[in-house]
Symmetry: C2
Subunit: 379 residues, 2 copies
């Protein structure tokens, strides 16, 4: 199929061979003891990554399904919620809440910026809100928000916090319990190095209380049912067994490497890609104070469309990076560095991007960029 | 893992090697032309199996998610709907509708029986209903309902028909367009020979009209969005790419075999297992007029719990069959024969069941049962 393709988009990511092998094994019997043991192992591994003592539920859906699960189980119709519109995924959270009848107040944040704590505090001081919905890492812009600070403000105003960590969890630390995040959602196809198709959700004690008196209708994403089933070593509906087999393998890899090392590797990649892009004379798109360590967004150079870059790079080097989305299409490009990568992968990508830009007419030195990248990675 | 285990439950089923290999390939880029071509190929293959000229949408969820999608997109709060409670999956359809605020009238059907056409006609004659929700093949009891007849009655009363074909589609013919079914739902882990994690949904023209004026909230399962994305060769949310890679491979297998042959093979298996079970002196659970060709339900013999049979068979022969569910636990057992099986698989299962029953004290001749099975299969 596409063995020779390097997926350097902000998810889905390259999947390690050991994980693909586990996924390609025969489907386990989903009501048997072997699968229950696997579910338990995954729950324990996910708790470590989520930094929570709560169960982490595994849903068979995309990350968006997990976000819907968190919102529908915790937010009722006519509840006032705050949502941060600073990119596609923050917008999606608010849209889901609106779809189910919540009253959404939007915090407008310029693309490439993060929500300023005082913006949030001012809004929360003005009137009571039930919940604050926010994204840890906005892949559409390459921005990582300050989750600890935003969560603290939300809690000062007694708001429930619902956090989309789909793209950041496993690459950028999230201290779920320490920061008191009420609902944390992630997905399989990012730093977890799995194909898409699984979402992971943890709720705080307070959130479980809210879910019990939920008024928004939900069935497939009913987290109370999911938790009841988990207590019996099962899932309420037939789950995506083979992907969960892969999850067992990917958690083994992550925990064997050690989460501190995993986070340091992502930080190294973020640093290396940012420096290398700057060394090419390119402008980074994300506010440097909030630059993401799992995806780097870069302005295309004057006169070159990022659409051409993305296409040429795929054709010549078989490396897939992402274009900007919506209004940013053609204007920025995004390099994902999440999950299964190493210094070689990152450097190869940077050098290929530079060569392609040179080909498209941007004056730059690809070899020097590769050296800058390597040095920054090792720093 | 469990290479030597034969999964003879009514789904998930054994997955052919070619399908497992496709699933274990690197994850395709989900926004690239290669994946769009795969989506298109799957859509065309699914249309053939569904016997419809409409698009068949691929959702990343269990079958239950697909059923929720069909119901939430077509049934509004306070709509009156008819649901048939003759097993776990018929009940689930009504429960989903109730959860989202529909007014459900239950048609009570004894386990092992199918809904009688006159029962449905009488209820529909009494008052107007928006929709009839029913299951083609009720895996919990081994009953296949007469879909064509029920659909005709529903249409005579201008009701929308929503059909759960999760376990039957691909094993028992469903003439979606000819019978005028408005929403047809299936799932990957049954006759499609795939692991669980995908649902398939087709809507009629009339159903698409209804979806456009939908009042029930839904986001992840918004079929209008799914169809819009499909027109661009995409899915609205990052899909379970590797399972879709497997779907491509499994549709290749089904269409190469030819759907008529696939259906005949399932009919042969149903006939063979029923005859063999009767030759062991066992009583079939499902009404013979509605006996399923994808799962056979059988009363455990006097004095032997089906729980013991299921456990002993797994321990001794590494063949997994299903116990009864709910009240039927310990009382019946269920043998699945869907997807990837042949005469050898079926005969081996029958003989092993007979040997295990003999071991547990039931007087019977396993070799004769195997012969009966083979003969009936070939008939």
């Amino acid at each position: 199929m596409n063995d020779d393709v390097l997926l350097m988009i902000p998810g889905p990511t390259n999947v390690p061979t050991a994980v693909l092998e586990a996924i390609g094994q025969p489907t386990m019997y989903h009501r048997g003891p072997e699968f229950s043991a696997l579910l338990d192992k995954c729950n324990r591994g996910l708790r470590t990554v989520f930094q929570t003592s709560q169960d982490v539920l595994i849903l068979s859906s995309s990350g968006t399904g997990g976000v819907e699960a968190a919102i529908t189980n915790l937010v009722n119709p006519d509840d006032r919620v705050l949502a941060i519109r600073g990119g596609k995924f923050g917008e999606r959270m608010g849209e889901i809440a609106e779809r189910y009848g919540a009253l959404v107040t939007w915090v407008e944040v310029a693309p490439g910026k993060a929500a300023e704590p005082h913006q949030i505090a001012d809004l929360l001081a003005r009137r009571p809100f039930k919940a604050v919905l926010f994204v840890q890492n906005e892949t559409s812009t390459g921005v990582t928000q300050n989750v600890a600070t935003l969560a603290k403000i939300a809690h000062d105003y007694r708001c429930v916090t619902i956090l989309d960590c789909v793209s950041g969890m496993g690459g950028i630390p999230v201290k779920t319990d320490e920061w008191g995040i009420d609902a944390v959602v992630s997905g399989s196809q990012k730093a977890f190095m799995l194909p898409p198709g699984l979402a992971f959700v943890s709720l705080s004690e307070r959130a479980w209380e809210l879910a019990r008196t939920r008024k928004t209708p939900t069935y497939y994403f009913d987290l109370i049912e999911a938790r009841k089933s988990l207590e019996k070593g099962q899932t309420p509906w037939t789950p995506a067994v083979n992907l969960i087999q892969g999850l067992g393998a990917s958690l083994d890899l992550m925990l064997a490497e050690g989460m501190d090392h995993v986070y340091a590797r992502h930080a190294a990649a973020g640093r290396a890609v940012r420096r290398a892009m700057q060394s090419l004379g390119l402008r980074l798109f994300a506010d440097p104070a909030y630059a993401s360590n799992v995806v780097t967004s870069v302005h295309a150079p004057e006169g070159i469309s990022s659409t051409s870059l993305v296409k040429q790079l795929a054709d010549d080097a078989h490396i897939i990076i992402s274009n900007g989305q919506g209004e940013l299409k053609g204007r920025i490009f995004r390099i994902g560095h999440m999950g299964a990568f190493d210094e070689e992968t990152i450097t190869r990508t940077v050098e290929a991007v530079a060569r392609t830009l040179a080909l498209l007419g941007h004056a730059c030195d690809p070899t020097a960029a590769a050296t800058t990248c390597m040095e920054a990675y090792r720093q």
